[in-house]
Amino acid sequence: MLALTLQIVLNGLTTGLVYVLMALGFTLIFGIMRVVNFAHGELYMVGAFAVTVLSGKLSWPYVPAAVCSVILVGVLGSLLERFLFRRVIGNEFNCMILALAVSICLQSLGLIIFGPDEIGAPRPVTGVFHFGSGVIPADRVFVGVMAILLLVAFYFFLNKTHFGLMMRAVAQDPEVAALHGIRPKRVHTAAFAIGSLLAGAAGALMAPIYTVFPYMGELPMMKAFIVVVLGGLGSLSGAVVGGLLLGIVESGFATMLGSTAAALVAFAVVVATITIRPEGLMGRRS
């Protein structure tokens, strides 16, 4: 029993960390810009494809390929904000539709350029680790470690740098922040860039583990959505706690009941959460 639990937790933590990356990006964008980024899954996909092309087709070593991919997605995010979202910011409905449109365009570009087939990226590490009685593949440990490093960097940025402080100020109260001379536009671009970057990182990390194809972003998007609703739209700590929790609970449910039952339970919980406590477990009441 303990061995099974340990295995469930280990599996859950590794997927959970990826969920955290996705959820953080999603909630950051919502918290600062009030945009429900329906294209978040596609940013994940772009990250995955970028790494696949760089380390697969161009035979770059994995880490430089991943870093470049992540930066690429970040730049893409900032362009999307600068030229598209900036024009409709303030109108929540239009922002949502725009995000949907971007999602469709990115998916179709993926289809056009790469075709619908699943491809793979080369694995950066192979083998397994033994953790007590649990077994965990080395590449997942690698993902977990990279994810943790990224999260630490993000935390450092948000809490210890001047710009991070500005972002938190805008998230709390954009008007007051403006009164203090913070220009919301720069913060918005940064928020979208960083949010996209996190999604791209998740994609780049997962590319060698699962297959890569244009529709791959849909499922992670769904997970991010569930985590963010549970943790609270706009709450960063909620995203972290929620992501890890979802990873572990899902791992448990999936092992016991099957993955679609797990998904059904997840959606039921989402419906209940929004109805009873829309701001999520850790969010602020607006």
């Binding site: 449109a101 179709s108 679609t260 059904l264 419906v271």
Partner: protein
């Protein structure tokens, strides 16, 4: 006056063209346009009270499966299964409404999204009832008063009638006194409530009506195509209905009509370049949001106003 004349002309065209153009395939597109228009109109009603319901495609699915099961499992005639499908979905909406419609704005979108996904999963997983991913095959054709509808043209007229009725209801709901109440709620809910209006009951009413017509559309879809699978009612279908509204225009029921006529044939026109279908679609949607936020209908209205002003 001109507007009414144009609408009558439009209706005449919609009614008359299949008698002139006897092309099975074009008629098939026509059926799809009418079914899409009905569901899009149901979404439009919700949009006009300020709630984006992402569950309309799932409602359509509920209507489709209900009608199918009533006919295939219980042997009921289409004439009963069809309205029953609509009424069941309306009842579900009426029961869920008081709980869910307390939630507004972006949270309502997310809520109905989760609901839609959940319902889709049920369609996939409850294999004994819904046939799972393989769906249900061999759905009997619809029959009215003993006559079985076999040709696309017969379904076209049935679906056209449904779309027409839905359009009239969509217009009627927002007209005169009830329209005034809904507009007041939209404009200033706090004020309206302080004067005694039970906002929730109005929203539930509109939600139930929108569910009714989405369910009816689903029933027609099921008996027309003869085959159902959960994919037909997934989020992508929801996005289609939303795009039809955004591009066509939200502020009047004319919008989704125009949107359906424009967007439903699109995949067919671009059949040879399938990958570009999606891209065109996405770009159109993007263009609508960025440049024509009130859609084509809104654009036409602005054009008329601009022409009228000196």
């Amino acid at each position: 006056m001109l507007r009414k004349a144009l609408l009558v002309l439009f209706a005449a065209l919609a009614f008359g063209w299949p008698l002139v153009i006897e092309n099975r395939y074009v008629t098939h597109i026509g059926v799809l346009i009418d079914i899409s228009a009905t569901v899009s109109l149901s979404l439009n009603m919700m949009l006009r009270i300020g709630q984006l319901s992402a569950a309309q495609a799932a409602f359509m699915g509920l209507g489709a499966y209900t009608s199918t099961l009533l006919v295939m499992r219980l042997g009921l005639p289409f004439l009963i299964a069809f309205p029953a499908a609509g009424l069941l979905v309306a009842a579900i909406a009426a029961v869920m409404g008081p709980i869910f419609l307390r939630v507004k704005g972006v949270y309502f979108v997310l809520l109905t999204f989760a609901l839609g996904e959940g319902i889709g999963l049920v369609f996939q997983e409850w294999v004994s009832l819904f046939g799972g991913n393989n769906g249900i095959h061999g759905i009997p054709k619809a029959s009215l008063f003993g006559m079985t509808m076999l040709t696309p043209r017969s379904y076209y007229y049935f679906a056209l009638a449904l779309a027409g009725v839905t359009y009239l209801v969509a217009v009627g709901v927002f007209r005169s006194a009830r329209g005034a109440v809904l507009d007041s709620l939209n404009e200033n809910e706090e004020l309206s409530q302080s004067l005694g209006v039970n906002a929730l009951s109005y929203r539930v009413c509109v939600f139930a009506i929108s569910g009714f017509f989405a369910g009816l559309a689903g029933s027609v879809y099921a008996h027309y195509t003869g085959f159902l699978s959960p994919e037909a009612f997934a989020f992508s279908t929801m996005v289609d209905m939303l795009a039809i509204n955004v591009i066509g225009g939200i502020s009047s029921p004319l919008g989704p009509l125009l949107g359906a006529i424009l967007l439903v044939p699109l995949p067919e026109l671009l059949r040879d370049v399938k990958q570009y279908q999606m891209l065109t679609y996405g770009l159109l949607l993007m263009a609508a949001v960025l440049f024509l936020p009130s859609g084509i209908a809104g654009g036409l209205r602005s054009l008329r106003q601009w022409q009228r002003s000196p």
